[in-house]
Amino acid sequence: MKNVYRVVSLLFAFVFLAPVIWMLVVSIKEEGMKIVTVLDWFTPPYSFAVYDQILSATKLSNWVLNSFGIGVVVTILTVIIAALAGFVLSKLPFRYRSFMFFFVLAGLLVPGEAIIIPLYQVAKDMNLLNSYQGLILPALASPFAVIVLKSFFDGVPNDLLESVQIDGGGTWRIFTSIMLPLTRPALASMAILTFIGSWNNFLWPFLSLTDDNLFTLPMGIPTLMSSYSEDYVKPMVVNTIASLPIMLLFLIFERQIVKGVSLSGIKG
């Protein structure tokens, strides 16, 4: 019985890994080789020539940078904006607080996909199409992030805040020297979720961009693929260049990423 478990487990692992390994191996194969059986994919001759070709002749490396750059900017700003809002909703008494809370909560019910057509018109009216600002700005207000961070701020005891006030510290001191440090794991998890979301954001760039200098990976890759013929080497090089950085990041930060993803179960 134990061996059955082991074999089944390994089989699953193999199936999950196979497409990625295939991608990596085909990407270093020489172009134009004849493929008869599946084993031919994995045999020499190998060559990195296509990598040079793709990196110099296409904008792929720009798109990798765009995806990372936009992801980082969106992540930092989203978390800051959500932390500010979540802090207020959690710890500052003010008029209309419960109204504000429900106003934000209602945002969880608005699927981005359902308002994408009017968003296009709004962005067009504001001259935001085909710009980094146009890609980044609409992504920055995340009701989900606000609600989750608020619930973590709720867990910070009020005694701590009062002790800062007794020392003469204001609201900003409370925010920066108590709230943020005490909720660092939650902030990190939220950052990771936001980055993954931005990394995979497809629909909005797809609608709002026509300038290929601004493309992100999900936008750019399909435009390259349509120009390649039967051979798989070029497409796989494209896939590999687009994936290696993020896969390495995943392996380095795996523990934090797993924690961040566990947090997303709170949603709903």
Partner: protein, 296 residues
């Protein structure tokens, strides 16, 4: 906190301001503006003319829209139960003590970090006839005779299977992690007690593990239904909605109506149909989670 009341209000508003400005500008305002668009013939260039409820009555009788919604439903039905089962199975594999435990966790989550375009194109190549990985492996193990090929993406049912498998492979990692962390929260003593009472593996799974996972299963199921309903990009890349629009989901139809047929007004109208469906699902999910006794 003792403070002048007005000052407190102003200060709170200042902290909220960045969120509110962006939220109102890019979520609330488009939502309102979109309603307005549904009453117009509206092209990519400009507002054309007021058409009253025409877009709505057209939508009710639009077979293309209903079949696109149907395709999204098919995708939901194909991916939701399989997603839950696969996620539990993978979590059980990665939860067993073994030398490869950490490796399993990495491997099952790895596809989830790939960009949607990469995942879709890999899937597309994997399911190609003649040179694709699936057919080649089937040839190799002689499940598929040497001279025959499966044309996965030329036939509707096979296309659905291919799309569903690719989606499972690419996205199961998230749900797998949710299950894994839920399983690790189950106290060991319960398992030990069950074993002392002579329970076998099957009984332990169905009497202990699965009931313990019930709240997270409910959450995952609902989130998956909503997420699957919003499918677009994988299908767009893998089959383009084909063959003959037989796999075209609702979001693709909205996109094509707005941007290929230059009819933003009608596309917005269909968006609100999608909105209504998702809203009902979300409210149902909220109700499910907040019922008396539910603790998700």
């Amino acid at each position: 906190m003792r403070m002048n009341k007005l000052r407190a209000d102003v200060q709170a508003l200042l902290y909220l301001l960045p969120f509110l400005v962006i939220y109102i500008l890019f979520t609330i305002w488009p939502m309102i503006k979109g309603v307005n668009m549904t009453f117009y013939k509206w092209t990519l260039i400009r507002k054309m003319k007021y058409v009253g409820w025409d877009n709505y009555s057209r939508m009710i009788h639009d077979n293309e829209m209903w079949s696109a919604i149907w395709h999204s439903v098919i995708f939901v039905v194909l991916t939701t139960p399989t997603m839950v089962i696969l996620a539990i199975a993978l979590a059980m594999i990665a939860n067993r003590k073994s030398r490869l435990q950490r490796l399993y966790r990495s491997v099952f989550f790895l596809p989830s970090v790939l960009s949607v375009a990469v995942a879709s194109f890999l899937g597309l190549f994997v399911f190609q006839p003649y040179t694709g990985l699936v057919n080649s492996v089937l040839h190799l193990v002689r499940l598929l005779p040497e001279n025959s090929e499966i044309f996965w993406l030329n036939e509707t049912n096979l296309s659905w299977i291919a799309i569903a498998l690719i989606t499972l492979w690419w996205t199961v990692g998230f749900n797998f992690i949710l299950y894994l962390s839920a399983m690790q929260d189950i106290p060991d003593e319960i398992y030990e007690a069950a074993r002392l009472d002579g329970a076998n593996d099957r009984q332990i799974f169905f009497r202990i593990t699965f009931p313990y996972l019930n709240p997270i299963t409910k959450t995952i199921t609902m989130l998956q239904i909503i997420a699957s309903f919003k499918v677009f990009m994988q299908i767009y890349i893998i089959t383009g909605g084909g063959p003959l629009d037989k796999t075209r989901p609702i979001i693709q139809l909205i996109y094509q109506t707005g941007f290929k047929k230059n009819d933003l007004g009608y596309a917005a109208t269909m968006s609100y149909m999608l909105f209504a469906i998702l809203l009902v699902l979300s409210i149902f999910q909220y109700w499910l989670n907040n019922r008396k006794g539910a603790n998700a």
